[in-house]
Symmetry: C2
Subunit: 330 residues, 2 copies
């Protein structure tokens, strides 16, 4: 295996987030389950948008947030995903490149507009998401920059891609190329409902293709229909090289090469908005991993990045992550 | 004069802000003067955007921020301004309506895209703005909803409109309609460079058309080429019914009906971003004014609203202004 020119390459939905404040009642009135992601079509997206207050727009997308975070930490990052050639697409493209992530997927010149995610932030800082996938689902195997995938130490895939058949095929094709070139494959399970929709498929994927798995407590227990976190931990043990399981204020558990590490949570200020917490945990973890850090240290880096992003509105860190690592973990 | 159905109607540029962090060196490298607004064309806007970091998008526009603030306080507000029928135009239109401001100017279906303002926030929380006026300058006298103007207790105009000849004509036509229907005319001088560009014209306007003038220290001293704030105060005295002159951390001075009131500044937390401070001062002031409050109380309402908006990123209050008024000024 030759030296790699990129640390992590991610494939995911290219999304612009619209953050709005909402109360519990609004979630109930619109049959939304707090803390989860629901898919909506364009008409539903417009209807929901019309019923919420003023928003704040910021680039998002789960894997995209992770890759932006890795670049902000100083890692060599690449992202593959599809926007439309519209104003929101220009914002997404600018923001991911502005932090130093390679992003070269050509924008679609026809078809649906750039994907949007309406994120309802409740007073308890939890976020509930309604995603219109738009141009994102136009990602196909033919769009993959396989040369970039081959250059990655780790290929990172978000489970949300499973909601599009074409993207799913692109996802598996990319995993095979990464493996063939000596790279590792990492997967985030993304969302408990997403796991619900694709349980068997995800189980096969974890067994057959995944080296590093990221999941929160709800997602991992849903994946194995387990009755408790402990039972889910038992189920996932030995199925992939690393499983990094996040548990909000309980920190995380990292299972790696037969060992288990309890990682303390880190929180750098008052809780404002949990959007991006899982994405930034993965960013910190993979940044450490591609630098050859121990699994425990990778978990701490994940905790720190997640602990920063929950103190601000939106999923892309406004703080200098490199400085934070030096201050808190050196 | 019959009873009015609206408290304040504003005419201004309909702009989406792109907030980015920048350091002093960036301002120097691009010949930008801290704390001011520079006009840029589309090519310059693209070039600048390409050279800055990741941004946060939020509806802006000086008068639009003021009218959104008045609606958030519970006032009956209307706004007239021109967007294009594009994604940023949809964001602007949604946000101003979402807080309850009447906004019915039809979006342009051809021509330049919705106006954008790149706002560089330096570590000292000051903001420096580069505005691409885009569709905003397409506002013409024919677009004015004169029925809405006639219904306003106060017509509020931003000085920035003076940079477009058509908008300037629309501005004067509206002022005449407002006056003819027994309404008062308020003007914000907007920016020291804007005053520099249109000094004589603004002086005539203040003498001939304006009942309530908003200006900060730099703007009012520039308007009269005064050597000190005190000299500028002397110059403006008696020229309009009210002059509300803001001085950042020194609070404000309100000259009204021959009396002078010193208003203490209010700051509700650490200074984060001064974007919108003047706009929200005007919002608080005019909300009080149209409810028949004393000039001193109007100044306090202005101070409170400005004191909130500087503690957050962006010019549209994320806090509940009505609650703040009850807590701090009742």
């Amino acid at each position: 295996m030759t030296a790699k020119s990129l640390d992590v390459v991610g494939i995911g939905n290219a999304i612009v987030d619209v953050l709005v404040q909402a109360d519990e009642r609004f979630l109930g009135d619109h049959s939304l389950t707090k803390g989860t992601m629901a898919l909506v079509d364009e008409a539903q997206a417009e209807r929901l948008y019309a019923s919420v207050g003023a928003g704040l727009e910021t680039s998002g997308g789960s894997a995209a947030n992770t890759l932006a975070g890795i670049a902000q930490l100083g890692g060599r990052a690449g992202f593959i995903g599809r926007v439309r050639d519209d104003q929101l697409g220009a914002i997404f493209s600018h923001d991911i490149r502005a932090v130093g992530t390679r992003f070269e997927t050509p924008a679609a010149t026809s078809g649906p507009s750039t994907a949007r995610c309406l994120i309802l932030v409740t007073p308890d800082a939890q976020r509930t998401m309604c995603t219109y996938l738009g141009a994102s689902v136009a990602l196909e195997p033919a769009d993959l920059d396989l040369e970039m995938v081959a250059q990655a130490q780790v290929l990172y895939l978000e489970g949300y891609l499973w909601d599009s058949d074409a993207a799913k095929r692109a996802f598996i094709a990319a995993a095979e190329v990464a493996r063939a070139h000596g790279g590792e494959v990492a997967l985030s399970l993304s969302d408990a409902f997403c796991v619900e929709r694709h349980r068997e498929s995800f189980q096969e994927l974890v067994d057959g293709h995944v080296d590093i798995l990221f999941a929160n407590e709800m997602e991992i227990t849903s994946l194995y229909k387990a009755n408790s976190f402990e039972e889910a931990v038992e189920q996932v043990s030995g199925r992939c090289r690393v499983a990094a399981l996040t548990r909000s204020e309980l920190g995380s558990l990292v299972l790696a090469d037969g060992q288990s590490h309890r990682i303390e949570p880190i929180q750098l200020g008052p809780l404002v908005d949990t959007t991006g917490a899982g994405d930034l945990y993965a960013a910190g973890f993979l940044y450490g991993w591609t630098r050859g850090e121990t699994a425990a240290r990778c978990g701490q880096l994940g905790s720190l990045c997640a602990g920063q992003v929950v103190t601000q509105l939106g999923p892309r860190p406004q703080a200098n992550l490199t400085e934070l690592v030096q201050r808190h973990l050196s």
